[in-house]
Point group: C2
DNA sequence: ACAGGCGGAATGAACATTCATTCCCTTGCA
DNA sequence: TGCAAGGGAATGAATGTTCATTCCGCCTGT
C-alpha cells in the first residue's frame, strides 16, 4: 500500500457516475463486512460496474479504501462544524459537537461504520498514532472537541482528566449507541438522544456543588490502590 | 531404562497443549487482523503446529472462532463476578463491574479485542440480536450490570434512561479507553482509571441536588426538536 | 471510422480444507 | 527387559476455490 495519486480524481468531469457508485458500494459493503471481507468482485456487482472498471478509477484496493476514508472523514468533520459557534459557552459547544456526531451516525450509518472499521484496523491505528489524518483544510490544529475541553478545563467547568479520557467519556457512549441503533438493536427517540448527550456532559463536567463525591487526585494513589 | 509412565497426559487429557496453543494464536491474531485478515496458515505458524492439525481440534475456521468466543466470553463474565457482592450499594456494585471490565481489558488485551472484533462482526450482531450468547452457568438471566441499573432506577439514584443508553454510558468510555491503551496511544495510571470510572457514574447517576440542568422528559420533544 | 471507456474472462497468487504419509507412544509378546 | 507391531496424532503437500489484478475485444459517442 503506497501513498500517491493525491488528486487524479476527476480526469474529465464524471463519465457516468461510476466513481460515485463504486465509492458508495465500497462504503456500504466494508461497513458491514470489513476490508478483508469484501472482495472487489462484490463491490463491482453492488456498484453495477465491471470489476476491471474499478481499476480505472483507483490504483488498487488499498488506495480505494484509503481515498474513501480521507473523503468520508473530511466530510464528517465538516458536518460537525456546521452551525458551530466558538463564541458559545463550553457546554453548548460540547453538546453541539456531540449531537453532530450522533446525527451524522444516524443519517450516514454506512459512512459511520466505515470510519469505525477503518480506525479499528491496523492501518487506522497506525494513522492515529502518526497523526497523519487527512488534510481537508485541516491545518494540523486540534479538533474543535479538544479545544472545547481545553477551554472548559481553563474555566474549571470540565474535569482535569487526560484528554484521552475526556474524549472516551464524550464519544464512547455515542459510538456505542449509534452502532446499536444502526444494527437495529434499539430505537432511539429524540428525548433519549438529548438525555444521553446531557449525561455525557455530566460525565465530564466539573461539579461545583456540594452533593458530590470528591474527585481523587493522582497523588492520592502514589502508594495505595484502593481506599 | 524406564518402562511406563511419566506422563499419562497424552491420549486423553492433553495431547500436547496444542489445542491451547491454537486457541491463543487465534485470539492474538484475530484480535489484531480480524477474522478475514488471519489465514489458517498464519494461525498454524503462530501456534507452531501444522495447518492440518487445527482441523483435528476444530471442524472449520468458523467453528474455531465461535468456540473460542464462547469460551473467552464466559471467562470474561466470570471475572466480572469475582468479589461481586449483591449486598453492596448500587454505586459500589456499578463501580466494581466497570472496574472489572477495565482490568480485564488491561490484563487480557488480546481477549478483549477479540471479543470486540466478534461483537462488531455480522455474526456477533446476529448473536446479540437473537440473544443466544453462551451458557456458562448463565441461566438466561440478565447480566449483573443490568440488574444494577434496574435496582438503581428503582431507588431513583440512576437516571430513567433506556437500558441501552445506560450501558452505552457505562461501557462505551471504558471500551474506548482500553482500546487506546492497548494500541499504545495512551498510558493509563490508576488515578485516571479511578476518576474515569467515577465520571461514568456521574453520567448515569440521578442528581438530587439543585445545581443541575433539569432532565427533559420525552413529552417535551413531541413536537419540536431544539429549543 | 475511430479513440477510449468499459465489462468480464483470463491469470496467477493466496486461501481453506483434505488426505496420504510420517511419527511416536502404547502394548503384546518373546 | 527388549522388540516390533498397531494405531491414533501430526504433518504439510495436494486440491479445488476465491481473490486481486490484468488484459483484450466490444461498443458508444463523436
Amino acid at each position: 500500500m503506497n501513498i500517491h495519486s493525491l488528486a487524479a480524481s476527476s480526469t474529465q468531469t464524471d463519465p457516468g457516475n461510476k466513481r460515485e457508485r463504486i465509492i458508495h458500494a465500497t462504503i456500504r459493503l466494508i461497513s458491514e463486512y470489513g476490508f478483508h471481507g469484501t472482495p472487489i468482485s462484490m463491490i463491482a456487482q453492488e456498484a453495477g460496474v465491471g470489476a476491471g472498471t474499478i481499476y480505472r478509477y483507483f490504483k488498487d484496493k488499498d488506495t480505494l479504501v484509503l481515498e474513501i476514508f480521507k473523503q468520508v472523514n473530511c466530510a464528517f468533520k465538516q458536518t460537525l462544524l456546521h452551525g458551530y459557534d466558538e463564541g458559545q459557552p463550553v457546554r453548548d459547544r460540547f453538546l453541539h459537537l456531540c449531537r453532530g456526531i450522533f446525527q451524522y451516525g444516524m443519517k450516514n450509518p454506512y459512512e459511520f461504520k466505515f470510519i469505525e472499521q477503518f480506525y479499528n484496523s491496523p492501518y487506522g491505528t497506525t494513522l492515529r498514532r502518526e497523526k497523519i489524518f487527512c488534510n481537508c483544510g485541516d491545518t494540523g490544529q486540534d479538533l474543535p472537541l479538544e479545544q472545547v475541553f481545553a477551554a472548559g478545563q481553563a474555566q474549571q467547568v470540565i474535569k482535569a482528566l487526560p484528554l484521552a479520557a475526556l474524549i472516551a467519556l464524550a464519544i464512547g457512549p455515542i459510538v456505542f449507541l449509534v452502532k446499536d441503533s444502526i444494527a437495529g438493536l434499539i430505537q432511539l427517540d429524540e428525548a433519549t438522544i438529548h438525555n444521553t448527550l446531557a449525561a455525557c456532559w455530566d460525565a465530564i463536567q466539573q461539579e461545583t456543588g456540594t452533593n458530590r463525591q470528591p474527585v481523587v487526585t493522582p497523588s492520592f494513589f502514589a502508594t495505595e490502590e484502593k481506599p
